[in-house]
Amino acid sequence: MALNEAGGAAVEVEALGFHFRTRSVFAGLNLRLAPGLTWLRGQNGRGKTTLLKLLGGALAPSGGSIRLDGLDSRRDALAYRRRTFYCGGEAPALDWLTAGEWLDLHLALYPDADRAALQGHLAAFRIADSALQPVSGLSLGQYKKLQLALALALPVRLLLIDEPFNGLDAQAVEVLQEELARRADARDACIVLTSHLALRVAPTVTLDLDAAPGVL
């Protein structure tokens, strides 16, 4: 499946295989993602979150390869991960930290992050004053905003956002849509997001896993 609409592909997935203990998810999936906004669609259980985690380096493929700007997700794992960020909607990881400590830790791992932009995004999402709150004490929406504010400030080439609008209030949805629209137009990085709701931002590409060969 070729999805290259704007110059060379940034992400190349070849013959991707992945299996959980109880079922297989992908066998021989091929993808090429170019900079811009990719809307990943599919029924529940098709493997959208799994694909995002594989692309983010949080899961290891059982077969095939994933390359980002020529870097292999397994062979060049560290360099690959510095260029990606997976923004998941699950229960907070590193839940013993406060929101401020959580952000500082990520800034230490992504040294080129735009700190001023981070503060701007926190303010835009109205969570700039939550620095001392434990991450485990944030609501679903607050944690999502924290992740998004960080994700939007990181200098990554591949940004993976799982259900970005879940739990967000109306004002935050507006902020996020504006930011996504701006980045989709700029096309300087790949943004892959999953959403069951229709996007108000025009995606560069829509990828339907229900119809994709290699998705089991």
């Binding site: 960020f85 791992l109 004053d129």
Partner: protein, 360 residues
């Protein structure tokens, strides 16, 4: 037929106890081999405190029995997070459980947890009352009554602790809520100490983790035991100080290493996808732990030098063993629970044996 809530609490308790027993099973033989006589001795004197207290005048005896009951119910407080995990409690809290039902369930669960104590008291009582040459202070009826009363008080304390633990936690005070609002300002770029503090140090102290306090208590106990060992006061003979210091040193290293291994396992999934190399992180964390453990070892070595402890073979052997034990425990793979316990028991026995010979 018991209420479904009571059946559920009992099933939870059984599950927690089964898990605990499964953990202990791997190391049971080694503990029995190394500490068998000591455990048998403890079993024999389990009921000694209430029996002895029964020879006191009634008001003093009652006060002491109550204190003893509170102390004996503390293990139930430590077990509470296992028998009513936070996730289950979060689900149970909104349910309309009447206070009487909660009390009945807590009394039954406390009874299950205290059953081994009841057996230990019964054995100890039998050992003391059936012997021919009883001590003068031992009056069988009063001793048996005091032991029974002590057990009932312990049961009541344990049930109260379980009822308290199952209730809605108190809301934080208003000033704490205001203090928790602060605008985020990014920290300047920092290196390994920054990462280590956030990934390995803070988890020891937060979210109700007992690991930090436990290790601080072990460290404090170790330094105190070393002070006793090196100064040799009349209160505690030097060999006893050596045994205490050796045991606490091994337990401190074991506990710190155990906490590190657990945290590394926790981080394995939490950091997946982030730009950190897991093996490098693990080895740097182990090196940092060894550097921290070196601090109390340096204090012991310095105190021993000042006291003239390291002047002959036993002293040299103790020092060499103490310094080699930490890297061996921290850097070897976990093997099995039994293998790990064997290694710990070996170090405790050898350090105790050589340490108690240092001043002879």
């Amino acid at each position: 037929m018991a209420h479904p809530y009571i059946r559920f609490r009992i099933r939870l308790t059984r599950h927690a106890l089964t898990q605990l027993l499964a953990r202990l099973r791997g190391s049971g033989e080694i503990v029995a081999l190394a500490l068998g006589p000591a455990i048998l001795g403890l079993l024999a004197v389990a009921a000694l405190p209430p029996m002895y207290v029964s020879s006191y005048p009634a008001p003093a005896a009652l006060a002491l029995l109550l204190l003893h009951a509170i102390a004996m119910s503390l293990p139930v407080a430590l077990l509470r997070p296992r028998i009513l995990p936070d996730a289950v409690q979060g689900w149970l809290l909104p349910l309309p459980v009447p206070p009487a039902l909660l009390l009945r369930a807590s009394v039954l669960v406390a009874g299950m947890l205290l059953a081994p104590l009841a057996l230990a008291y019964a054995s100890s009582l039998a050992i003391w009352l059936l012997q021919r040459a009883r001590p003068d202070w031992l009056q069988p009826l009063r001793a048996a009554g005091a032991t029974l009363l002590s057990f009932l008080l312990t049961w009541a304390c344990a049930a109260w602790l379980l009822v308290r633990g199952a209730r809605l936690p108190a809301a934080p005070p208003a000033h704490a809520v205001h203090a928790s609002r602060a605008v985020y300002a990014p920290q300047p770029r920092q290196g390994w100490p920054f990462l280590w503090r956030r990934l390995f140090w803070l988890p020891l102290w937060r979210q109700g983790s007992p690991a930090g306090l436990r290790q601080a208590a072990l460290l404090g106990g170790l330094l105190l035991a070393v002070a006793f060992w090196m100064t040799g006061p009349a209160l505690l003979p030097r060999p006893a100080g050596a045994v205490l210091a050796s045991v606490l040193l091994v337990l401190l290293v074991h506990d710190a290493d155990d906490a590190l291994r657990a945290q590394l396992a926790r981080l394995h999934s939490a950091l997946a996808g982030l730009p950190l190399e897991p093996n490098g992180l693990a080895w740097r964390a182990r090196a940092s732990l060894l550097a921290l453990i070196a601090a109390p070892l340096l204090i012991v070595t310095g105190a021993g030098l000042a006291a003239g402890a390291w002047t002959h073979t036993a002293g040299y052997a103790w020092l060499a063993l103490a310094w080699s034990m930490a890297p061996l425990l921290v850097c070897t793979p976990p093997f099995t629970a039994r293998g790990r316990m064997a290694l710990i028991a070996f170090f405790i026995l050898v350090l105790c044996a050589t340490g108690s010979k240092v001043w002879l």
